[in-house]
Symmetry: C2
Subunit: 556 residues, 2 copies
């Protein structure tokens, strides 16, 4: 079979104005970026307010493994299949980061015959949104240091600056640095560092803001530092929120592109799925709901982290009510979860598959806890045996859940028609009784315990006095109503990445808590979380180049 | 009078496809960025090769002062006036950096009624070219550190990495930093720093490259570090040139926008005018020459630095032959050059004006040394008295040079019609006998002396043995044919910024020499050169914001 980039290059793209027209967007309200990408104008977004919303479908997955699940591929395949059966459907996914693109991760635009195009643009600068986030984040950093350099009228404690710089790059050397060396004219030496752009609170804010006014308010709410008396200094205290909003003005407008089958896809925003909520923007999702009868979107990592945050942070904050959820699984990944070795995945292994199914079962249960109807999509690989497919079907059906085998990677929409039909039925039965897992007014520690016990199935949450009193303090300061954003390994329900399957009785140790006051959530860090990746020994960048025809090679 | 942004906002922009059509560019070959900006497609650029070239007009200026000269304003006014008298004329200028925009510098899109629009976009992210340069520069930095982290097969001496990171931001805290702190997994601690993006050698390379093939070759030629045996390590030795080229693919395509009077302007590239050559891209200038009968372009700083580098670096390397030059002066700036106090510039002061005219006279002589015919444009201010205007006219005419008073800032093209007529006459007389100041085969130190003596009118060049032997070594290594790029204060012909007017007999002390092997020039640093600016105590960012209508305020 052809590679992803060969398939993408062979696609016949329609002019983006035609894709927009299929959703009823006038060409004058599409701000073009090339002939095949466009942003929706701010004015057009406002004009949609009174329209009814379409159905919202979440695509989530089992616990991720190195075998891959194909969540984005399934999102794209389902979107194409919904269109193929005559429904007006849009796809909403996140934008890609440059860092992993030059490191080792595959492209973020789906794969095989279920891709969003132009894939080169998707994986490179796209419409510049991430660069705008980088600029806004780093303007704030420069203004903080500049404020201190001149008069420091806010009395910022130089040791307690919490705002870090970002770069859209995998660059381990920048994780921990000392700045302002070289004497008086360079400022006050300080220990700080860079995160990757997707880890910036500005990215989370962009993705949760309703409009530019809300964006500026949230940017102003960012806590940048503390004074000696431990009182917080906000972004607006040093007057950076206005200029940051100006830098993000265009980035707030959702991007419209298309699938290989010329169906509309909104690709907008890309917050990290650990220290942030890991979903595409609220603005894009809401616009898509106004413009389509079905909107297929995805959340980061497995359902324990991604779907939980989608429901408890994004849907709660934006007032979204999902109508159905698809849990994606592959037989290979379930075998890994059941204890198979990575080099044995091509061999049928019913015992390990059955054991690994517990992981899938747990995720199904979890999603149903939010009141959202579930269908399971088995993303088919050629190595899957008939017996294995039968076993997994039997397992899922025994949980009272429908299950479909999909071949969209090889077949495009034709491979996901049955999934599309099931999703339509599920969404239209009106059985969704969506509610977040916990109420706003529960205590912060109780919220953490609720997630840990009901979703991760942990025995307890370990937190020392310092962390508990920090949570108390935030409650007293008026942040008690915020939801929780847990940063934990995605490779296990527990905090131990080696503990696959469906563990029970483990403890979730809290290492650190952080207040993202602008984004509007409390980050609870359990274990080591990397916010600036490094490049591998043979980075993808070594093979990325232009061929003789001027086409890009080496993206995948 | 209205502010620049008010004038810009009130302008009636034509769709960029109409501007392109006026130059004969088919809409399919314009890659749109919004409705009023576009890039020229790579294929279209290639198709132009066999067309004849239009006339190339350089706009340069007297020694800059805080009073301002209006070089960009004159470039735009002249371009509009050429169109107004029926000529097919295009403008070529540099893109703007975000750093000064949030610091204290005015916008980079002209001013008054001689502006390029959309000015907000021009001064913010524009079409993303600078972000692409930042990404390519910093990918190389990350790949260098990653190469060392894993195996360091190139045996890079960690103490001798010369490649720095960049940010498009005024951020003094990043000038000197220590990276890779925090232990083994973060790499080898190193002293380094950030420059502003316009100071990146990648920016200079982008602006001097003929096409993507040339771009990749030059990127590969960058010297990134040295080994213990002092042999250079090139960018291509660690395999970064391919991925960098991919990141810069779109950035290599010139951007088309328009003036307030709907005439075409190519705005592309923006290398620093001190450690680089300070001109817009070769690709844009060449495309404009193929598409127009007259191309008006500008160079950075005063003619001693800007025009000299335009002639000796850009024109030499790209095979361009300028047909005429405009030297811009203002009466206010000449009075400052003649010793007037800054708060006295509104007062007529013939004595100081006459004294300051020596500065103008010197620049006229210098430009004529390159064989290029000169006309002087007096950029008119309302405070200029009739006597002062008469005095400056008399001075210039006595040098055998034509002089015109222009009011394009207040009047648009109508204020520069006479200048346009003179420029047309000058360019069509065919009197240009352009030649660079020195030949390729002159020794490197002799080249430096030639510029210092003939342009700066210095008595001598001071350089210690270390610098002279470095130059010798580069000659032995095959870099002796390169032109010189002098980084010196722009505020004086000398290396002392306080020495205004037309000083003689001074010494030019060389502090450092650097080899920009990819860009293809030797940088000679005379005095302190800042490659990362800081923000002022009241940065412009404090006033930049969106108003109730969602329009950008505070850019100027």
């Amino acid at each position: 079979m052809a590679t992803d980039i060969e398939i993408a290059r062979a696609a016949t793209l329609k002019p983006i104005v035609e894709i927009g027209a299929s959703l009823g967007i006038p060409a004058t309200h599409l701000v073009p970026y090339g002939h095949d990408k466009a942003k929706l104008s701010a004015g057009f977004l406002k004009s949609l307010a009174d329209r009814p919303d379409g159905k919202l479908i979440l695509v989530t997955a089992i616990t991720p493994t190195s075998a891959g699940e194909g969540k984005t591929t399934t999102t794209v395949g389902l979107g194409d299949a919904l269109n193929a059966i005559g429904k007006k459907a849009s796809i909403c996914i996140r934008e890609a980061s440059l860092g992993p693109c030059f490191g080792m991760k595959g492209g973020a635009a789906g794969g095989g015959y279920a891709q969003i195009v132009p894939m080169e643009d998707m994986n490179l600068h796209f419409t510049g949104d991430f660069h705008a986030v980088t600029s806004a984040n780093n303007l704030l950093a420069a203004m903080i240091d500049n404020h201190i350099y001149w008069e420091n009228t806010q009395n910022i404690d130089v040791r307690r600056i919490v705002w870090r710089r970002v770069a859209d790059m995998n660059d381990r050397s920048l994780r921990q640095i000392t700045t302002s060396l070289g004497g008086v004219s360079n400022g006050f030496p300080a220990e700080t560092g860079f995160d990757i752009t997707v880890a910036s609170e500005v990215m989370a804010i962009l993705c949760l803001s309703e409009d530019l006014t809300d964006l500026q308010k949230r940017l102003g709410d960012i806590i940048i530092a503390y004074r000696r008396d431990r009182s917080p200094v906000f972004c607006r205290d040093i007057g950076a929120d206005g200029a940051m909003t100006v830098l993000l003005k265009n980035a707030m407008q959702p991007n419209l592109v298309q699938t290989l089958e010329n169906n509309p896809a909104f690709v907008h925003g890309g917050p990290f799925a650990n220290i942030a909520h890991g979903c595409n923007s609220v603005v894009a999702t809401k616009a898509a709901l106004k413009l389509s009868d079905y909107v297929v979107t995805e959340a980061g990592f497995g359902a324990d982290l991604g779907a939980e945050k989608f429901f408890d942070i994004k849907c709660r904050k934006a007032g979204l009510t999902p109508d159905a959820a698809v849990v994606v699984a592959t037989i290979r990944a379930l075998k890994l979860n059941g204890g198979a070795a990575k080099d044995q995945l091509d061999q049928p292994d019913l015992a390990r598959l059955t054991s690994g199914c517990a992981n899938l079962g747990r995720h199904i249960e979890n999603v149903k806890q939010f009141g959202v109807p579930v269908v399971v999509a088995i993303n088919h690989f050629t190595s899957d045996s008939e017996e294995e497919i039968a076993a997994i079907k039997a397992y899922v059906e025994a949980t009272g859940t429908e299950v479909v085998v999909c071949t969209h990677w090889a077949d495009g929409s034709k491979g996901a028609l049955e999934l599309a039909e099931k999703v339509v039925t599920l969404a239209n039965e009106g059985n969704s009784q969506f509610a977040p897992l916990y109420s706003d007014d529960l205590g912060l520690f109780d919220k953490i315990e609720t997630i840990a016990k009901r979703i991760y199935r942990a025995e307890d949450v370990l937190a020392d006095t310092k962390i508990r009193s920090q949570l108390d303090q935030w409650e007293q300061q008026g942040y008690g109503h915020l939801p929780i954003c847990i940063a934990k390994t995605p490779y296990s329900f527990s905090a131990d990445p080696e503990l696959r399957g469906a563990p029970n009785g483990h403890s979730i140790p809290i290492r650190e808590v952080r207040l993202s006051a602008g984004a509007g959530f409390i980050v609870v860090i359990c274990g080591e979380i990397m916010t600036m990746p490094g490049l591998p020994s043979k980075p993808a960048a070594l093979s990325i180049h232009l061929n003789e025809k001027g086409e890009i090679e080496g993206l995948f």
